[in-house]
Symmetry: C2
């Protein structure tokens, strides 16, 4: 389940490999830098959360083409023999700078920059976008759910409707970075060390002759961790059944952990159930709510004071249903020492290797970010991008998921609330450093002149 | 990359395993049937396409728990020793009925039914939903894009923004079932035998001193398969450059395959580029359009007669952006020979094992489906569910992707256009057989009586 880069050489867009052949055949070994960024903020996102770097670094360290990969490429009839014979030697030998996982970022800011021989730096594009895109989208969505929950716990219940197996793992990982307390995905528990969490299904309840028999059996199997699902027949009636079973557990010295609501009006039902539990002296029994929740539901229920202790957030978090994608792109920004940019309509990019500087006021609140050339000095603020790979090897210690999660907690505590609003947040100021702005101007002028010359030549 | 069920035992929601322990400890070995269905149609979907069964069958055949899985479960402190010692023996021994991949289905209809000892049939829920949900959502979305293209080709360009690696593979697979002609995903070419397709990136163009040098180099490397990306600087100017390079290829006896537009107004640009190509005698050069397209864009451009030969459809198909999920659920419908259903608000399910019968009129056009009990006789129409697994082993030959794709083509040719409309399609008639309707009535009454009794007991 942990991805092996060595098995993933062909998990790429065909054009990465056809371009590689062409670079190879033309002896183009110049170093290029590619920059990964989001062009525009997804709807209602005042910030985004970096995630996915760890998978990128593992991939780059192991990236290669197996004999069977090359046999397939040969059989496709697309490639030429000289390139196929070269492919077994191909490895990633470049450098990577990145904003660490768990930190917040904004549109236009480079999340990650890859520098290396153009063939290598280009060919790893597809996987890099695939992983950082998914994980950043989900970490951002999870962070919104956790923010909405206002201190109540959020648990990732999304595995059944994440887009496939890898997404199931990466959603657990990135929602944990985003602040989720636990996941229903047991393999994510094993691989990532995230606390697994779960309750019971309606089918479990209906496979017993009566609801209370289901509760009794489960309570005996899980004397301290049971969460009874109480809405199979009728939520209020189910709460009374849960009380009976919980009292029997108390007599054995056990303790019911919680009850779960999975349908109906969560606000009124949670209050009714809380009253039933409290009147029975079961104030320690937690209430879990699940079923089609997103950050707005969670925020509303929390603001309204619904006595829900844990939100099980599934499908809508696991696919970031309101914004399942962003326009994250990986663009060449320099080649052979020269700045490069793109002029295509609506897709203009910023040239050269970059750094982002983040400034705060005297109370520690973020005030603005500045995107600058990487070697531009005298820009105030904390530089966000770190060198994380050098010559194809990971540079420096790898962070734990816990550290990534703490980075996000800290960044969010520094971000003024107006940018964290779940609807129509304010737009955080992201400026361009003077050196970058000047370079962009010059590069754009040169390119437009070149494009004009092409057009002239073409029309002859 | 091909999933091994043996590695996926823990890729499941925790509750599947806690319920399994409880079934085990209570000696509950009765046979249960679970039914997978979509409750309501996603927006604008008049039909859906079955996909994902093949992965489910492979998973069920290999499903097991490794020593390291069990060591992890033991370390979690959640499970008890008797169950952990039983786990290594657990395999899937049940039967599966399913609607074959590539066939169309409608809300409420069982796509797949699993019958087996309750512990087994329950525990495989998460993976089954995960795979059939994703692949059916994407096959449906792809089918809409292909329908919109009205005979023009659609190619899957989505890998960079699919949700992870597994989705990248499954989107290629299910969009091929949905009618896509090719995929950019090279590994999907290797694993599934789908034709790989691709062009070049803007970065490729900008890494050469001039646009035409990029085209010339690529044309030499790929003498018959080159597709030049012509919008890096200016699309019309780029088309003129492409003409020069294509004419040079002709002189060498080669042929440019196509040009790609990736930004701007595709309708006017494709017409302008077509004219430039045709006037140069390059009527054989195809025009590819890509960049943020969905089925509605593709349909509009096709209806308006834009001279686009191939649509590269990426992100919005690869995540089914307008409807990334459906409410697909896996519900117990019988246990130990008794029908079971769920009464939760808005989630009432149909009891018992089922079959779906599809009727057509004398011209071969579909008229209605009937959901019936599986053993209900004398319902007119073609039965859709087939027995695909018996006693844990695949029953009957496995279909090829090509066969699945042909099934869909045939089903779509039988489905009246009103149900294929991309916006506000008509609702296809899905009825309940008399036996099922009567069973549902009886079961619901019995359950409501039981729930009432619980409520009474609970309030005492």
């Amino acid at each position: 389940m942990v991805l092996k880069g060595a098995e993933l050489g062909l998990l790429t867009d065909l054009y990465e490999l056809t371009m590689a052949q062409c670079y190879y055949q033309n002896g183009m070994s110049g170093r290029a830098t590619f920059s990964l960024h989001v062009r525009t903020a997804p709807p209602d996102r005042g910030y985004m959360v970096c995630a996915g770097l760890e998978d990128v670094l593992s991939y780059l360290e192991e990236w290669s083409f197996s004999e069977s990969d090359i046999a397939y490429l040969r059989s496709s009839g697309i490639f030429q023999e000289d390139f196929l014979e070269f492919l077994p030697q191909l490895r990633f030998t470049g450098d990577v700078w990145a904003i660490p996982e768990g930190r917040i970022f904004f549109p236009e800011e480079p999340v990650l920059e890859v520098t290396g021989p153009v063939m290598e730096a280009q060919a790893v594009e597809t996987f890099i976008i695939n992983q950082v895109h998914l994980q950043s989208v989900i970490a951002t969505k999870a962070s919104r759910c956790v923010w909405g929950a206002q201190g109540r716990m959020v648990s990732d219940f999304s595995l059944r409707r994440t887009h496939g197996v890898d997404a199931g793992m990466k959603v657990a990982r990135s929602s944990y970075i985003g602040g989720a307390a636990s996941t229903s995905n047991v393999l994510a528990g094993k691989i990532y060390g995230i606390t697994p969490a779960g309750t019971m299904a309606h089918s479990f309840v209906t496979s017993f002759p009566t609801e209370i028999e289901a509760f009794r059996a489960y309570g005996r199997s899980f004397p301290t961790r049971s969460i009874f699902l109480i809405d199979t027949y009728d939520t209020v009636a189910g709460a009374h059944q849960a009380v009976i079973a919980a009292k029997e557990m108390e007599e054995r010295g056990d303790r019911l952990f919680g009850v779960r609501l999975d349908s109906g009006n969560f606000d009124s039902l949670s209050r009714a159930v809380r009253t039933i539990l409290d009147e029975a002296g079961l104030d320690y029994v937690k209430i879990v709510a699940s079923g089609g929740l997103d950050e707005h539901d969670v925020a509303r229920l929390s603001s309204d004071g619904a006595p829900i202790d844990i939100f099980g957030v599934g499908t809508r978090m696991g696919v970031s249903a309101d914004a399942p994608t962003t326009d994250m792109a990986y663009k060449m920004v320099s080649y052979s020492g020269n700045p490069v940019m793109k002029l295509s309509e609506g897709k203009v990019s910023l040239p050269s290797e970059k750094q982002v500087y983040r400034s705060k006021d005297s109370s520690g609140q973020m005030t603005r970010d500045v995107i600058a050339e990487r070697d531009e000095t005298d820009i105030a603020g904390e530089p966000l991008l770190e060198k994380v790979m050098e010559g194809g090897r990971v540079a420096g210690p790898r962070a734990t998921l816990q550290q990534m999660r703490e980075r996000l907690e800290f960044d969010l505590s520094s971000l003024p609330d107006e940018y964290k609003a779940l609807r129509e947040p304010a737009v955080y100021p992201v400026l361009h450093g003077p050196g970058l702005e000047s370079l962009r101007h010059t590069t754009e002028q040169e390119l437009r002149a070149k494009a004009g010359a092409f057009a002239h030549e073409g029309q002859r």
